[in-house]
Symmetry: C2
């Protein structure tokens, strides 16, 4: 094992908009797997908006950024694992590094014959289960409801809208370019998609949702949730998944908007924040269904793969600005299935 372990570490605490200087590529020894652990060579690293939160955590400074990974077992000190297996650490993953020593219990073994291994970080991974439980358990749509989702072409949003359609709902996306909107309607088969950067979003939503919004799945916060709040149907449910438009707000300069509570009260609505971790004991159930739907073609997905761990920081910063299109992955080493 002459290889070194490349890592992207958080070089300092970030408040406000992060920059390339906040993330540093370093090299160190490849970790040794202890008893019960498996050494994994990273093939794909997942980039997700929640990672921005980690950059504001003092305990994260000087450490590799966390993140879900798909990789190949190089060596195993854990029962049930052997070199050559493809595995995924999809929640709380060892992250932005080329090797990781991971407890076997934290790994899922992947079957590349079932669905592509990249999907374990997207539609059949953490973003998929986030969409599944956040829509079905928190949003609780019923047939005929109008379901609106922001970041509709993203890893989570794309699944939300397609699941809403499966439930017999009207699916309305919100995205930031005409190209993304066209994809959401033409490929993902949403009923309509509104570009929040062109025109008045509130008016656009009013036109797209003549009976009001029954379920809103929020990935972005910011001005988008304000526009949604003014268009809620009575008894609406708001499922709060994330707020990427607000993560880079400087401390003391956080987003200020009209009080959402006014709209929640006026429409007798329910707003709930959730995290996929609340549903951990049901992840396998959701992952099995998601894989089935991907295989059958009922669930479509789009990936954007950036090659090279050294390019992860720029790709991540771009994602915070919405420049990615589809699920963003970093290919860290060779994929034996391609």
């Amino acid at each position: 094992m002459a290889e070194t372990n490349k890592q992207v570490v958080l070089s300092r605490l970030v408040a406000g908009k992060p920059s390339l200087d906040d993330l540093e590529l370093v090299e160190g020894p490849v970790p040794e797997p202890r008893e019960g652990e498996v050494l994994v060579r990273t093939i794909y690293l997942s980039l997700d908006p929640y990672m921005r939160g980690r950059m504001g955590a003092p305990e994260a400074v000087g450490k590799a950024m966390v993140g879900g990974v798909v990789g190949e077992v190089v060596a195993s000190n854990a029962a049930g694992f052997e070199p050559g297996q493809l595995v995924c650490q999809y929640v709380g993953g060892y992250g932005w590094q080329s090797y990781g020593a991971v407890a076997g219990a934290q790994l899922r073994v992947l079957d590349p014959g079932l669905v592509p291994i990249t999907t374990a970080l997207g539609v059949v991974g953490m973003p998929g289960v986030t969409a599944y439980f956040g829509l079905l358990e928190v949003g609780r749509p019923v047939a005929g409801d109008t379901v609106v989702v922001s970041a509709a072409s993203g890893a989570v949003g794309a699944v939300v809208g397609q699941l809403a359609r499966m439930k017999g709902c009207r699916a309305v996306g919100i995205a930031g370019t005409d190209e993304k909107c066209a994809y959401v309607v033409d490929e993902l088969q949403f009923d309509v998609c509104v570009n929040y950067k062109t025109g008045d979003l509130s008016a656009g939503l009013a036109a797209a949702c003549p009976d009001g919004i029954d379920v809103y799945f929020d990935n972005v916060g910011g001005t988008v949730i304000d526009a949604v709040a003014g268009n809620l149907a009575m008894g609406a449910r708001l499922s709060l998944c994330g707020a990427i438009a607000e993560y880079n707000d400087a401390p003391g300069r956080e987003w200020h908007g009209p009080h959402l509570s006014r709209f929640i009260h006026a429409r007798r609505a329910t707003m709930r924040g959730f995290n996929q971790g609340e549903f951990a004991d049901r992840h396998e159930e959701a992952l099995a269904l998601l894989a089935t739907w991907v295989r059958s073609g009922a669930l479509k997905y789009k990936e954007q793969v950036v090659v090279g761990l050294e390019n992860a920081p720029a790709a991540f910063l771009g994602m915070l600005e919405g420049t990615n299109f589809g699920k963003l992955l970093v290919q860290v080493s060779e994929d034996p299935t391609r």
Copy 2:
């Protein structure tokens, strides 16, 4: 019937802070009860924060202000009603006038031997059922929870905190004077009450709620809900009943604060707006329990009675500023039970 019917009518549409000029005392003929209707002489008129909303409704201009009333039957064209009975129209009442002709089906007959008739407009009326369902069904407290309620000495808040104590919760009030806070703790037996006008409310709540806030019952909105939002426990429930601190905001100058959705998401909390009308089919159940608790002394209440319909406008404007102390009533005519 040589009497005339005095009415307080909304003289114009109100945006922003209402003034005495917005409400006009007029006189007209006493209404004639039609078939199925009862003529009621108003004894007490209830003043409640929700009435502010009516002042912004174009269809309300030129009409008597709505509101719950307790009165005496003067004449009846409805089966089951006869002169001399004491009755209450506690939801959607005929309001700010000395007489009303009301469909019998909208009236509850009161037994003055059970609880004082004034309570039909407060603790055993609409404010009581609002507290009952808003706390128990929306807030869903469990024993050991910390329950915070704003406007804690008010008609709704006082009941919320006492019910929370009955459920084995820690009850924390928020009120606007030291006198109100002393009443809330000494008489209503809340565990603690924080004066939001003296000192930093967020710090005060942090000290009063060392394990965070599990349930918040909101009557005020404004800066108070912002301070609460920063002190939520994981999985908190926010029950939105009203937002008196925001009702007088001028259009286009509505309350702007940090996005409540950030806090809701971070604490995996649930915020729900409700109205007692959602629970109309269970009002009788709640009213019976509330009356029982009032009789037994388990549920205490405080009333402030202003005499004379002509004094209702000033009393109402004062209530919007928090100058009342306890359930605010206007005595419109003689109370035969006193």
